[in-house]
Structure formats: structure tokens, C-alpha cells
Amino acid sequence: MVILIAEKSDIIRTGIRYILHEQDKNQIVKEIENPDKFKRTIEKEKPFLVFGSSDFLNDSYFLGLKISKDKIKYIGICMGAVSQFGANFLSDSIQIHSTKADIFRILQKFSTAQPRHDFGKKDHELTTREIEVVCEIAKGLTNKEIADKLFLSTHTIVTHRKNITRKLGIKTASGLTVYAIINNLIEIN
């Protein structure tokens, strides 16, 4: 999950990044200093949290926004009054003299809303379909035969195989057979 810092001043950007990394050194932090490229960067990086000055977070930005405001939380970096911002759109704000604790508090408040890491996701477990495919590979069927048996296209089987290899770290058919037997997916005959 990306945090974006949109700010013209090098010193402020670097400072915020430093504090964010103090909280979590693995946090991915992107920076942008040119307001003209702001919209494109948002679309590309899809941050969940944006720290930005009024050069970026102004009415003209928010009013032309396509991505729903709920998905991204905007935190204003204030030099003076909050009113320079598209203020209604901000979720929170920090001042130029805010303390580390203020920033930590903001992180805490918004990161619980959305998990910061994908660690929790069981991205490496096989889906039911993939398990079916593993079993057929283990029985020695070719991609074409598996496709016919499961009423899928050969192309889909190839995609499943790629995902299986990525998840398990096993490339060869005989390797997958060993995997299937160890995990009791098929019986030895």
C-alpha cells in the first residue's frame, strides 16, 4: 500500500518520508513535486493515503476527480489556513510545526481502515480450480486433455499452470505429481 507525498518543498517531503519510515521502514512512500503530474501519479500509484500541500489538494483537483474520494484519504500539509485547500475533501491535516506524534496518530487512524500489507492475504494457496488442474497434471494429462476434461480452453489451463508454478515454486510435471501425493490430492496406484 502506497503513501504519496505531494509537496513542492524537498525539505518537507524528505521530512515526512523520514517520519513515515521511522514508523514502518517497509512502508512504500512515493513523492511528487510537480502539481501538473499529480493526477496521473494518483492513477498510477493508487495510494491509500496522500499528504499534500494546497498546490496539489485544491478545488480544481478535487472537482475534476473521477476516483471516489472514499478510496483515498487526503491529508493537507498546511502552511497557514486550511481554507486554501479544497477543504471539504480533506480527511485530516497536519501543520508545518506538527510533531512526529501527530503524524503517527494520522497513520494509525487511517491504516486500520485499510490493511497496509498484503501479508494476511492467502495469495499463495491454490484455488479449487487450480487444485483440480494439479491433480490432472499429476495423472499425466497434457494441457489439451485437461482442457477437454474440465471444459476449459487450453489457454486457460496454461494460465492456471503459470499461477500454480508461481504459487508453489514447482515447475515440472513430475514435481507437481510429488506435491499432489504428499498433500493427498491423489492416490498412488
Partner: protein, 240 residues
């Protein structure tokens, strides 16, 4: 020479691959190489590339005769098949012997490793019986600037490019075996034995990687250059 081992003992198998045995005495690297009739420059480049994984001086290697390189590759084959593979086989046997519940699993692993070994043997056989003799022949022609009719005909139908296409891919099984051991073998009491097997597999893989690099980055480009020269050059044709 003794200092080399003190600095990096993992070089031992590489050094013995040159036919050099322990008991170096006070001799320097150069003296030892002379004693065993090993080209000292080649020896140094090889052990340096093993010592530092990021160091691979392909330009320097290409300056050596292919004969040196092939001799070296052959002795590496010998090391894999006569020493490394049997060692891993013995460890897997041992694992089967001491386990009770997971016997079936380890038998599977044994078969799987055997499949890999068969592929490796086939690969080695093909290189030693076909590819290397072809290269030696090619280099001889190139150096003597004479080409036999037979070789000339062969060049029309065979080039090293074909070998290059088929090369590779045998490492996939080794990779799988490692992952099965790391991730999927059921928990059991023989951890040390499993660790031992794994570290042997990693070492073998690393060594073979070095070996393939030598083939792909040094031997094949050099052979290609010679093939090109022999095809285009006006060498004397011998009627044999």
C-alpha cells in the same frame, strides 16, 4: 597455495577438479600449477570466479584455448556424477531408512531425484560424445587453417546454435526438488538430515550454474565465431 584454502575453503572441490591434490607444502600457486601441468592463468580465473560470484571474466576466458575449457567442463561432469550425485543419493537413502511414517514420501523424492539424475546423465553423455568432440575438431581446423571435407559437410547441417537451443532446462527438476523439501515435506524428526540434503542440492545447483555460464558465455560464443570463420574463410580443404 595453502593460503588460498585458508581464505576460502569452499574452493577445495574446484581445485581438485584440476587434478591437484592436497599436500601443497610451501609451494606457490604457480609452482603447484606447473607441477600438475595446469595453465596457471586459467586456474586463477576459474577459482576467482568461484570465489566471487559476481566475477565472471568472459573476455579473459575466451582468450584461452577451448581445449582447456572443455577439459575443465569434463572434470566438472565427473565431479557431479561420481561424487555429488552419489552423495545426495546416499543421504536420501539414509532418510528413507530412518523414517517410518514418511517412508512413502521419501521414496517419492528418491524417484524424483533419480529422474533428475537420468536427465543429467543424458545431458552429459550428449556433450561428451557429440558436442565436445565437434568443438575440438573445429578448433583444430581453425588453428591449422585447414578444414576436412567431413567437417565442412557437417558445418552445412550442424551448428552449435542447435545445441544451444536444447541446452538448459535440466535445472528445473533440481529447483522443484528444493522447493518440495523446503515447503511440502511433512514435519518430521530428521531435520538435520533434510537440511543436509538441501544444502547439498543448493551447492550442486550453484556449481552447475557456474558450469552453464562457462558453456553459454564462453564456449558457445567462441565456437560460433569459429564456425563463422570456417564457413566464410578460404581454408585449405583436406580430402580426408
Amino acid at each position: 597455495m595453502a593460503d588460498v584454502i585458508h581464505m576460502d575453503f569452499t574452493l577445495l572441490p574446484t581445485i581438485s577438479r584440476f587434478g591437484i591434490s592436497l599436500g601443497y607444502g610451501e609451494k606457490t600457486v604457480e609452482e603447484i600449477c606447473q607441477k600438475y601441468s595446469v595453465n596457471v592463468d586459467f586456474f586463477l580465473e576459474v577459482i576467482n570466479s568461484f570465489h566471487d560470484k559476481n566475477y565472471f571474466p568472459e573476455k579473459k576466458f575466451r582468450a584461452f584455448s577451448l581445449k582447456y575449457i572443455i577439459d575443465y567442463l569434463k572434470s566438472a561432469h565427473k565431479f557431479y556424477l561420481e561424487y555429488k550425485v552419489p552423495k545426495i543419493e546416499r543421504l536420501i537413502e539414509k532418510l528413507i531408512e530412518v523414517s517410518d511414517l514418511e517412508k512413502q514420501t521419501f521414496l517419492l523424492l528418491k524417484n524424483f531425484f533419480q529422474e533428475y539424475v537420468n536427465e543429467l546423465k543424458l545431458h552429459v553423455k550428449r556433450e561428451e560424445e557429440e558436442v565436445y568432440p565437434y568443438i575440438i575438431n573445429l578448433e583444430k581446423s581453425f588453428l591449422e587453417k585447414k578444414i576436412t571435407k567431413k567437417l565442412q559437410e557437417k558445418l552445412q547441417v550442424y551448428t552449435i546454435g542447435q545445441y544451444q537451443k536444447e541446452h538448459g532446462n535440466i535445472e528445473e527438476k533440481l529447483f522443484d526438488l528444493k522447493n518440495i523439501l523446503i515447503k511440502y515435506v511433512p514435519m518430521q524428526k530428521n531435520n538435520n538430515l533434510c537440511n543436509n540434503i538441501l544444502s547439498e542440492l543448493f551447492k550442486l545447483e550453484e556449481d552447475i550454474k557456474e558450469h552453464s555460464e562457462m558453456e553459454e558465455r564462453v564456449m558457445i560464443p567462441q565456437v560460433k565465431a569459429m564456425e563463422k570463420a570456417l564457413k566464410n574463410g578460404k581454408f585449405e580443404v583436406e580430402e580426408i
